[in-house]
Structures are given as C-alpha cells and as structure tokens.
C-alpha cells in the first residue's frame, strides 16, 4: 500500500545554486554505488508547495528577450515552468527520491496554459513526482506541476525525465518503437545558438546544470560539447508559433529527441497543423531530429 500523498509547504523557493551542489554530490555518490533496481512505488509521496511566488520583472524581460517572446506583461508558459523548476529540483535531491539528479535526460514536456498569468500575480506553485515507468534505457519519472492564482489552476506542467541505466524492479520497458525513416521537411527558419546561450538561459531559468555551461562537464556526461537547455529550444519554438496562432490558452507539447550542441545551428519548421501549429527542429547536415511538438489552442 502506498502512503497517502502529503503536501509540504516551503516558506520560499529553494535557491537552485545550493540545490545543485547537493544534487551533484549525492549523484556522484549514487554513481559510485552499485546500481540497485528501483521499486515502482518509490517516488516520494510528497508534493512541495510554495505560496505567493511573484515573477521578477528584470528576469522576466531577460527571459522574453532570450527566447524571442514579446516582452509583454503576461508570463510566457515557459517562464512559469522556470518559476516551478526549483521545486522539481528540490524534490529530485531529496534522500527519498530514487533517481540521481545529474545525468537525468529531459524526454518530454507537456504544459497547459489555461489562463493568462499577468505579471504581479501571486502564484501558488505545487510540484510532485509521479509514475515511475520502465524505459528501454532506464527508468522515467514525471514531475508534475500545478500553478494556481486565487485558488484557480492557471497552468499545469508535466516534465518527463529519464534516469539512464536505472532498472525499474518488475517493470518491462515497452519495446523500442521501430523508428520510421524520418525525412526532414522544408524549413521555415533557422536557429543560430551562440556559445553563451547555455549560460544566458541558466541565468534566467536558474537551471545551472553544468552540461549547459561547461564543455568539460558536458564531456563527462558523454556529449561532445555543451548542449542547449531543452526548455530553451522548446520556448523558442513556442515563441515562433506566436501569440496570434496560439491564443491566450493553449497546450504546448514537446518531445526531445537529441540535444542541440552549442554553439550550433538548427533548421526549424513551424507550420499550421491539424489542431494548431506544429514545430520540429533538426540538424540540417545530419538530418537528425532535435525536438518536435505542437501548440494547440484550448478552446
């Protein structure tokens, strides 16, 4: 039997810098220790909650400029994700969280922006871990966030992360889907990601995972050089879809396939699809997909 889920309220957002140091050390220890399988019920039965979170205007502006959002007084859906992110991290460094934080791969992200969130709103941000699942390369977990203003849910987000090489006890990974050969479409644009984009997104998002800022750290995790934050690329795609096409309430789904190395260039197609706008970014030289997703107005 699972213990009932409990909500632990924190007085303020935990500072991410210290969280990472802790995450780094516990992950390092975890990486040394022999890997034991994780039980399917081992996610902490705890949601973390911080009330009355307010956006900082300077940070908001820097975020909007960086990802190409109009610098209006509504918080972009990706910025709300950024506001909730410290709670994701705080959960993942808890002693009872079964997967190591560092080296975790962001596989997918689903956000529902249900109502516009104006600057100055006081946000109640709640995050919990859910649903350990077996994956052919390890174990995945969903970090589920909910943001409320005056008791009304305005934003929900589900971030799916993969801990590579961690086996889920009793779990069977779904067979790897046979990937149909993918032919890149005609691009509508190009993202040129300068060398400092990892540092700049780290500064506005607080996500200071060193694989985005230090090529040494990136190499330690098996990348040839630093990689762009997935949520930075997803946020650029959302901005490319633009306010006219997405409206004020929308779903923003993204699946990450392969990271974008920085500095680097990605070909992009953002175009009207069946239920909204679709986007895909890829490496034009190798014909390899970086990410794809869609933005669907909620009607």
């Amino acid at each position: 039997m699972r213990a009932p889920r409990r909500v632990v309220e924190l007085a303020a957002m935990p500072p991410l810098a210290r969280t990472y140091v802790k995450g780094l050390s516990t992950s390092a220890v975890a990486m040394m220790a022999p890997r034991r399988p994780v039980g399917p019920d081992e996610v902490p039965a705890v949601d973390l909650l911080v009330r009355d979170v307010a956006a900082d205007v300077e940070r908001l502006t820097a975020y909007q400029h960086l990802v190409g959002e109009p610098a209006g007084d509504l918080l972009p859906a990706g910025f709300v994700h950024v506001l909730a992110f410290p709670l994701q991290t705080a959960l993942m460094i808890r002693q009872d969280f079964p997967l190591p934080l560092l080296g975790m791969v962001h596989l997918a992200n689903r956000v529902e922006q249900r109502r516009p969130v104006p600057l100055g709103s006081l946000l109640d941000v709640q995050v919990g871990a859910r649903d350990l699942r077996a994956h052919r390369a390890g174990t995945t977990v969903d970090l589920v966030g909910e943001v409320r203003v005056d008791g009304e849910t305005v934003w929900t987000g589900v971030s799916t992360y993969l801990a590579r090489g961690v086996r889920l006890a009793g779990g069977t990974a779904p067979a790897a889907e046979r990937r149909a050969a993918w032919t890149p479409p005609t691009p509508t644009g190009e993202w040129r990601l300068p060398a400092d984009v990892g540092r700049r997104y780290a500064a506005v998002s607080g996500d200071r995972n060193p694989i985005h800022t230090s090529s040494l750290a990136a190499k330690a995790f098996g990348f040839p050089r630093t990689i762009a934050h997935g949520m930075y690329t997803a946020a650029r795609a959302l901005a490319d879809v633009g306010p006219a096409a997405r409206g004020e309430a929308y779903r923003w789904d993204v699946e990450f396939a392969a990271p974008v190395l920085i500095p680097g260039t990605a070909a992009v197609r953002v175009s009207p699809g069946e239920h909204g706008h679709e986007f895909v970014a890829w490496n034009a030289r190798k014909g390899k997909k970086h990410l794809e997703g869609r933005v669907t107005p909620l009607g």
């Binding site: 005609t186 691009p187 509508t188 644009g189 190009e190 040129r192 879809v241 096409a245 009207p272 034009a284």
Partner: protein, 443 residues
C-alpha cells in the same frame, strides 16, 4: 445623436470625389555598388544630392513644399530626422516640413503613396517623396551586453559606481554587430527565404538568368536612348548605375556559382547575377496637385491612381517571404475594376529574378488563385514585353529605400510617353513579408 455629416465609401470601393495627385518628375543619383564611389557618403549626403538635383530641375529653390517624406532602411539613430535634415541642407524653403518613413524595401513607394493621399485629400498641394540607402556606411552597433553596461555607466551617480560598472566589460562584449538582411523571426537571410520560394514554385536557373539579362539589356538601352537624362544627376563621378553590365550574356550569367539555397534538396539556382547586389544610392519624386503644377508651368507625367499594402505569414511557411505582392495586386485590381492584363507596363521590383517569376507563377496558377486568393480562377499571365522595360533592380542595383522612387519616376515618364490613358502596375516586395503595390496612369 447627430447623424454623421460625412459618408464613408463602402470598403473596397475607391473614394470618389477626390482630386488627382500627379507625378511631376523625379531625380535620383546613379546607384553605386557597396564599397564603390559612394563609400564615404552618408544617407544624408546622398539624399541631399538627389534632392538638390530635383530642386534644380524643377526650379524649386526657395519653394515651400507641402511636405517631404523620405526614409532609409539601414539608418543611424542620429538620422532620426533624415528627411527634415535633407530639406535644411537643400535650397528648398526651410519652412518645408518633412517626415521619415521606414517600411523596409517598400519605404520609397510608401512615401509616394502617403504624400499622394495627402494631395488627394487637399491637405497639401505638393510633396517630395524619397528614399536612400547606404550599405557602405551602414550603422554598426555595439553588442547588447556592452550597450547595457554603457547605459548603466551613464546612469551611475558616483565615480566609484562608474568604475564598478565599467569593470563588467569583458572582451567578448566588444564584438560589433553589423546589420544583416536576415529576418529576425526566422534567422534566414532574404536570399535563403527566396531560395525556399524559388524551389517551391520550381523556377529554373535559365528563367532567372533570362530575367537578369533582360534587366541589363533594357537598362543599357534606356541609357543609350537618353531616357534617364532628365531623371538622374551624376554624383561623385558616377553617371550611370555602376552595377549595369551592358555586355552581359546568358553564357556569362550561366557561369556564375549559386549562392543561395545550397542546403535544399533541389539544385540551387540563385546566383550573384540573378540576385540584386548591395548598393548605395538615393531617389526623389516630385508629386503635386494639377493646380500647383499648372501654376508653375510644370509637366504632369502620371496620376497615382491607387495603392495597396500586403503582408504574408512567411514565419509559418504559409507563403514565401517576398510573395505579398501576389496577394496585394488582386485586391488592388478588384477595387479598381481592372484585370491583370489591363496594363501597358509592369514594374515588378527585382529583389531577385526569382521573386518576379514566383509572383508571375502565382498569378498564373489556378490552384493558388482559387485556394489562396479566393478567386474563381487564375489571374493569368502578362505580356512579358511590357515588364520592367527600362531595366530594374538586377541591373540598376537596389539601395533599399531608393528603389521605390526609381520605379515611380521611371514608370511615370514611360507612361507619359505612351500617351493618355496608358496604365502601369508597380509591385515592390519587402522584408517582413511585406509588399506594396500601386497603379499609375498617364496624366
């Protein structure tokens, strides 16, 4: 509540009862290639030179013109009053007001449209429209990071604060940024955008080179015939457009290597020969009411009949970046009760040879005209012997904001030569997915 005194014409119907706005003439300086004879000339210098020539040609010294409108695409922030400064440096009355306008490559044509409308409404009797651009003297700015630090320094209250702020400067902040022809929202250059459209409409290399060849031959022939004698003032030793290659041939154009669209699946077709070069230059157009021109014994070449602006969603690939004219022209035709074939001359700005061909192909496409324009069928093709008959941007060069003035003055003179009632269509594409189109008629 009182009933409104005025009646608004139904949308899509040309306003009745307005008087005419006419093109009296134009003057430009020859267009130079970037880094050529105008390398040290600023936008203000070149616009002033073109304006001085216009004033001299039409005896406007000391004249208070109703309004001058001009603009530049690549513009220094110090030139916020470019048009007014050009007036103050000219023999025109210093009591001539002026305003700046900027709509990328449509800037020049839009100044003509705006001033014509003021004349038609009776707000002004005369106007000078103009445009200028220098890619040689383009503004270069410091990086955003350095700019923020410098601005913070200027706001510092104590020397200590200033020093502390200055300490934030890092070597990587010092790289300057020059303007590019890249679209901010897609990151693609204009050439790469056109390459996508070129491929989508399956425009061949040969067809593009033929457009380029015709442009050079037509412009050279016009110079030989003395057509530009009263449209142009020499400047800095240049008497003809420096980009003009009178002796070019299909063989020469065919030998050039493609420069755009090299990463697409289809073979690249766009070269330096069938794309416009970066250029420096300026142009002006004198507009007036019939009465103002008659009082001064000035000629009237053509009427500015009507104009339409368009824009396309190139960001999401719905249309090509430079295809707004394909949408704006049919709206303009419908409002004026005309068909695409009702014109004696066509001026389609040659940003790239392929731009012209893609727009023509769109109008010839039954599918495009039905599905995208909502028309019963294709607009049809045009008589190519009426297209850009005095050369266009591929041969003359394309100093962005100066192109509209070049086209309007050239077309007005050509229509006047053809005789009363002859009609011309202008289409100018521009960055941002813009297009501005206009109808001129011999006065």
């Amino acid at each position: 509540m009182a009933a409104p005194r005025t009646t608004t014409p139904a949308p899509g119907v040309p306003a009745a009862g307005l008087r005419r706005a006419v093109v009296v003439g134009g003057n430009r300086i020859p267009f130079a290639r970037a880094g050529g004879p105008y390398v040290r000339a600023s936008n203000l210098d070149m616009l002033g030179a073109a304006l001085d020539g216009l004033v001299a040609r039409f005896g406007l010294a000391g004249e208070r013109i109703g309004e001058v409108a001009a603009g530049a695409v690549l513009k220094h922030s110090k030139d916020f009053n470019l048009a007014r400064e050009a007036v103050l440096g000219s023999p025109l009355s210093p009591e001539t007001p002026a305003y700046d306008l900027q709509q990328a490559c449509a800037t020049g044509l839009e100044t003509v449209v705006g001033l014509s409308n003021k004349i038609r409404l009776g707000q002004i009797e005369s106007g000078i429209a103009g445009g200028v651009d220098s890619t040689s003297d383009a503004p270069i700015v410091v990086s955003d990071a350095l700019r923020r630090i410098l601005l913070d320094m200027s706001r510092a209250k104590t020397p200590q604060q200033r020093v502390a702020t200055a300490m934030r400067i890092r070597p990587r902040h010092l790289a300057p940024s020059a303007p590019t022809t890249g679209e901010p929202r897609t990151g693609l250059s204009m050439g790469e955008h056109q390459a996508l459209t070129t491929a989508a409409w399956k425009i061949t290399r040969e067809a593009q080179d033929e457009i380029a060849l015709a442009s050079h031959h037509n412009l050279a022939a016009a110079y030989e015939a003395g057509f530009f004698d009263d449209l142009l003032t020499p400047y800095r030793g240049l008497t003809r457009d420096a980009n003009l290659r009178a002796d070019t041939s299909l063989e020469k154009l065919g030998s050039l290597k493609p420069v755009f669209g090299k990463s697409l699946d289809t073979p690249p077709t766009m070269t330096a020969g069938n794309s416009t070069p970066l250029s420096d230059g300026a142009s002006t157009v004198l507009l007036a009411s019939d009465a103002w021109a008659a009082e001064r014994g000035l000629p009237v070449l053509a009427t500015v009949v009507d104009a339409e602006a368009g824009a396309v969603d190139f960001v999401h690939g719905r249309d090509g970046l430079l295809m707004a004219g394909a949408h704006a022209v049919p709206r303009l035709l419908a409002r004026n009760g005309l068909t695409l074939q009702d014109f004696d001359l066509y001026e389609i700005h040659e940003a790239f040879a392929a731009t012209v061909l893609c727009n023509l192909a769109a109008w010839e496409s039954d599918e495009f005209c039905r599905e995208r324009l909502g028309l019963p069928g294709a607009l049809g093709s045009i008589d190519r012997s009426r297209l850009n008959v005095h050369g266009s941007s591929l041969a003359a060069g394309h100093p962005f904001a100066a192109t509209g003035g070049r086209i309007v003055a050239t077309l007005a003179k050509a229509l006047a030569a053809k005789g009363p009632g002859s009609r011309g269509l202008i289409s100018v594409c521009a960055a941002g997915g813009h297009g501005v189109v206009a109808i001129l008629e011999a006065a």
